[in-house]
């Protein structure tokens, strides 16, 4: 049996656990609440108002005016995720973190117990209780004979739900449902399937494999198998690791923008962030993708394949800039994103050959990386991105610079020599 543990409204729940005043209140986690952006996560108290992740903050404020808007803190969530991983590993070593708030647990090593449905359900309930007692968080758990069914089952009851399905139960439950409820089927593919007369998961299960193969290539037959609840994908324990498929960054601009210099500075900053992550994790990529979203929420993604893998910000920036110039018609933009895919480890000889072409640039890059590793990301930045950073209220040298920059009259300061020392 396989479990999928899905933490309920994870980011918002961590904030509620850390700040008791937020408990029982609608909480919306976002970027800087004072600026424009989108909802990162919404607590279950906010969801009845219609607030959803990805929604513009202005709309969330209109739907749920009494919500508390909290600036998200990735460090907090990652650390909590690692603490939860320790709990999962106390049950089985076969744990695959699927995202910061989801993990698959393969119970195979528990032997016969793993095959007994009631025992697995009891183990799952105990796991939910432990997560609640030790961390004050809710988790929904899906149980199934494979990852697909466990994942689908985890969404059946939320929050703090527990659903166990075998293949027959899975089909009974999901076949009447719209085809886009199948894990991995997005709106675009669902539209394509509807065009073939496939409206429900049952329709997909009954579809002729050759029709699906013709429409979707090798993915087609897999879709049909998924509708039947068949999945052979193994749980990959976290210590074996899975190489990432892509790395990217995107930013919602403070306001709709058609200022070419500002947009270019933004692209440079995003390319720099992506390049730093690539180098930090030892990857380079052969495909650069640009994402643009305009003021009407129309999203356009364009990508370009390269003959060599790259991991430096200028190479990524030049491609992203070319894509932007070719596809931007001057309309106001609200979001920009840059990502790199077709990743390969940089230990290969091809990288060596690539870097040898400009050894000095590489040496400079490595020196700058060392400075940033030691002093922080903001210690050295591409000059072209500085205008952009000022526009976003960026703090160049960390919290202390912010303290120094603050007007002294803003807040009453404790007088030196007071006797109320802590």
């Amino acid at each position: 049996m396989i479990l999928l543990v899905d933490m309920d409204a994870f980011f918002a729940s961590v904030e509620q656990a850390h700040h008791p005043r937020l408990r029982g209140r609608p909480v919306i986690v976002c970027g800087d609440p004072g600026r424009r952006g989108v909802v990162t996560a919404a607590s279950y108290e906010a969801r009845p108002s219609g607030v959803r992740a990805g929604m513009p903050l202005a709309e969330a404020r209109r739907l749920c005016p009494r919500a508390e808007f909290v600036e998200g803190n990735p460090h907090k969530y990652v650390e909590k995720s690692l603490e939860l991983l320790e709990i999962f590993l106390s049950i089985t070593p076969d744990v695959e973190p699927f995202s910061v708030d989801e993990a698959f647990l393969d119970l195979m090593r528990l032997g016969e117990r793993a095959g007994r449905r009631q025992e697995v359900i009891e183990l799952s309930r105990a796991l939910q209780q432990r997560i609640a007692d030790e961390h004050g968080l809710g988790a929904s758990i899906g149980i199934g004979p494979n990852k697909l069914i466990a994942k689908m089952a985890s969404g059946v009851q939320k929050p703090r739900g527990l659903t166990c399905l075998d293949e027959a139960e899975y089909r009974r439950l999901f076949w009447p449902k719209p085809v886009q409820e199948l894990w991995g089927v997005g709106e675009k593919m669902a539209g394509h399937l509807r065009g073939l007369g496939i409206l429900t998961m049952g329709d997909l299960g009954r579809a002729r494999p050759e029709v699906l193969e013709q429409a979707f290539g090798v993915v087609g037959p897999h879709l049909r198998e998924a509708a039947w609840g068949h999945d052979q994908t193994p749980v990959v324990p976290y210590h074996e690791g899975v190489d990432p498929k892509s790395m990217g960054h995107e930013v919602t601009l403070p306001e709709d923008c058609r200022d070419a210099a500002f947009l270019e500075g933004t692209l440079l900053r995003l390319a720099d962030q992506v390049a730093r992550r690539l180098r930090g994790d030892g990857f380079a990529g052969r495909t650069v993708t640009l994402k643009l979203r305009d003021h009407r929420f129309q999203t356009c993604t364009r990508q370009r394949a390269l003959s060599i893998a790259v991991d430096d910000h200028l190479a990524i920036f030049e491609v992203a800039k070319a894509l932007w110039r070719a596809n931007w018609k001057g309309e106001p933009l609200r979001l920009l994103g840059v990502s790199v895919s077709a990743l390969e480890a940089t230990a290969g000889s091809e990288q060596t050959e690539l870097f040898a072409r400009d050894a000095r640039a590489r040496a400079l890059q490595e020196a700058l990386d060392r400075v940033r590793d030691k002093l922080g990301e903001a210690s050295v930045v591409p000059a072209g991105s500085l205008t952009h950073r000022r526009g976003l209220g960026h703090v160049p040298f960390g919290p202390l610079a912010k303290v120094a920059a603050r007007k002294p009259e803003r807040r009453e300061r404790p007088k030196p020599g007071r006797k109320d020392a802590p």
Binding site: V14, A17, H18, H19, P20, R21, P33, E68, F69, V70, E71, N73, H75, K76, E79, K80, R372, D373, K374, L375, G376, S379, G398, P399, L400, K402, V403, R411, E412, R413, P414, K415, R418, D420, A421, P422
Partner: protein
Amino acid sequence: MFESLNDPVDVLTSFVGGVMRPIRFRWQGRVIHVREVTGQWNRREGHAVLRCFTVLASRDESFELCYDARGPRWILSRAWNEPPR
């Protein structure tokens, strides 16, 4: 809602059993007693690792404190600015 501050503060700290814990701190002329540490995590700034705490104070106020061993110093990074209930 939370207000971002990043104010340097003096914090009376206990180190018991290898565990660091803020006890009370002085801010805006007040001495604030930490009633409960409700969360903690690490934040990286270059090579430095800051230890951060969310704390509940005696008047039900919430704060976020970060200990930076480079100083060593404490920073009050955020405060809940709603009046106490």
